[in-house]
């Protein structure tokens, strides 16, 4: 007759092994660090600085003058407008405390409603200091502006709400 107590030891061994394996699996799967939010933090910072820069540009210094951004959009000469936008915008987004300035790139456009084409939207380029080649990872920031302009397809200068859209990226 074989000593049957060995079976009990075997069952205990199995139970203990299962518990340990199961616990190890749970602990390992729980402690894997998984923070998808981290990857977006730099995007959020870029978005915030771009939004703030546009907001500052769209704030008049007093109640009876136009904001710098409105003046830029109302400038009919595209080269002058681009130069003015470029100087002010880069001054705002690139300034850093202390050390050297930052090196951000942007591409700005103005989007408007095309009344004659059945309420479609069109845009025209405003300014840029870099070409998007496709490898960049830009964020989009926007700012509403009410400006007195003569948009394509219209006969007169009139107050219109346009959306300034800026793609902003860091090389």
């Amino acid at each position: 007759m074989v000593d049957e107590s060995g079976q009990l030891y075997t069952i205990e061994g199995f139970a203990a092994a299962m518990i340990m394996l199961f616990t190890t699996y749970l602990v390992l799967s729980a402690t894997s660090v998984y923070t998808p939010g981290d990857t977006h933090i730099s995007d959020m910072q870029l978005e915030q600085i771009g939004t703030d820069a546009l907001k500052m540009m769209n704030t008049p210094v007093s109640s009876n003058v136009k904001s710098p951004l409105q003046s830029i959009i109302e400038t009919s000469n595209a080269t002058t407008a681009a130069a003015a936008f470029n100087t002010t915008f880069l001054n705002y987004v690139n300034s850093r405390a202390g050390s050297n300035p930052d090196n951000l790139h942007y591409s700005a456009a103005v989007t408007y409603r095309n009344i004659t084409a059945g309420d479609t939207t069109n845009n025209y380029p405003l300014a840029s200091n870099g070409l998007l080649t496709g490898g960049e990872h830009p964020v989009r920031v926007t700012e509403w502006v009410i400006a007195n302009i003569k948009l394509p397809g219209r006969n007169t200068v009139e107050p219109r709400a346009v959306l300034v859209e800026v793609l902003l990226w860091r090389d």
Binding site: I19, T23, S29, M44, W144, I146, E158, R160, A161, L163
Partner: protein
Amino acid sequence: MAGLNEEAQWIVLMGFVVSFSFFFLAMILNQSTVVGQTTAESVLEFPKNDIRDVRSVIIESVRLGEPGEVHNDIRVLSLSRKGAVVSYSHPTGLDAYTHIIIHYNNGVTEYNENWTSS
């Protein structure tokens, strides 16, 4: 069980207790990462700047006397470029103040405001 050393049963029982405590600790750790994820996602999804911006342009347009095409500009551009339904009106004749009723909905976040000039 006769003839076996029964001390071993205590060892197995303690093993169970330790295993379960590990189990619950693992559960708590598991949940904590999910909490961080959902918080980060909801922060990212909330269109704070969009709402502030569209709100300020609406107030400015009413202050300018709602010139001709501006109302439709805001509505159409919001829908096509910002993915948000924006609707606003400003009832007049109620009292001496300016009132604007603003509605904003981008499918995830809804924002309504009854703005009154002071």
